[in-house]
Symmetry: C2
Subunit: 143 residues, 2 copies
């Protein structure tokens, strides 16, 4: 939303960066380990020009960074790694997938989220003392 002063709220800006199907799916593959153009292409079955555009958009937005690599006997190629800002989107992707699992049920989940000690994790509201707050006990109000 453009506010009267010409700025936009942080939700709107976030959607502008990640609110597109392929962009989020490229990020999903980065989270589960893809770094090379050929890996993203093979896993997503996406056209090369579309993939190149999405990767460039994610680099411009600061969510992926280019990281060169070179196979023996081949020319140097671009690889892609998640930046800090990109890694922090994991929470959003997990929340979105969790909602899809519950409210658009049809097939299995795309990604499993676990803590380093192997426990399944979910995304929840938590108060300033670290206590989980049920979704129904959260109020939204204009900031």
């Amino acid at each position: 939303m453009t506010e009267p002063d010409g700025s936009t709220c942080s939700l709107a800006r976030a959607v502008d960066v990640v609110g597109e199907r392929w962009t989020l799916l490229v990020l999903r593959e980065a989270f589960v380990g893809a770094t090379r153009f050929s890996e993203f292409r093979a896993r997503l079955g996406i056209a090369s020009d579309v993939l190149a555009a999405r990767l460039a958009k994610l680099v411009d937005a600061g969510l992926l960074a280019r990281q060169g690599y070179r196979e023996p006997g081949q020319r140097p190629r671009d690889g892609y790694r998640l930046t800090e800002a990109g890694r922090r989107l994991n929470l959003v992707l997990c929340a979105l997938q969790q909602w899809g699992d519950e409210h658009l049920p049809r097939t299995a989940t795309g990604v499993a989220y676990r803590s380093v000690d192997g426990r399944p994790v979910r995304v929840r509201f938590v108060d300033d003392e670290g206590a989980v707050v049920p979704d129904d006990d959260v109020r939204s109000e204009p900031a």
Copy 2:
């Protein structure tokens, strides 16, 4: 992502429903109390035809439900209320806004999230025993 069996993962399906700027902003206004067409239009400064299309999409997707109302001396009109599936998106919107606040800083936040007893809440990863898990301690793997 379309999987080999023609299905799609729950993240991709979720993005198909909500991965559009106006759709998420219409939902944001519903969360902070808008129910009438005129309220959404005034708050968002959105063209009537675009708003009508987004509201219809959200009703079709089961996130909003039509709820008629009638002002004295006027014809009956459509109002819109969040369904259970719509209300559950609050977690996703909060996660997305939180990420925007931290990684696309520019202006104030759009919505404040509080528990019923007035405590500020955030979205976090939580394990199956209710303990908060730091973002960096969460691993994503193909399900």
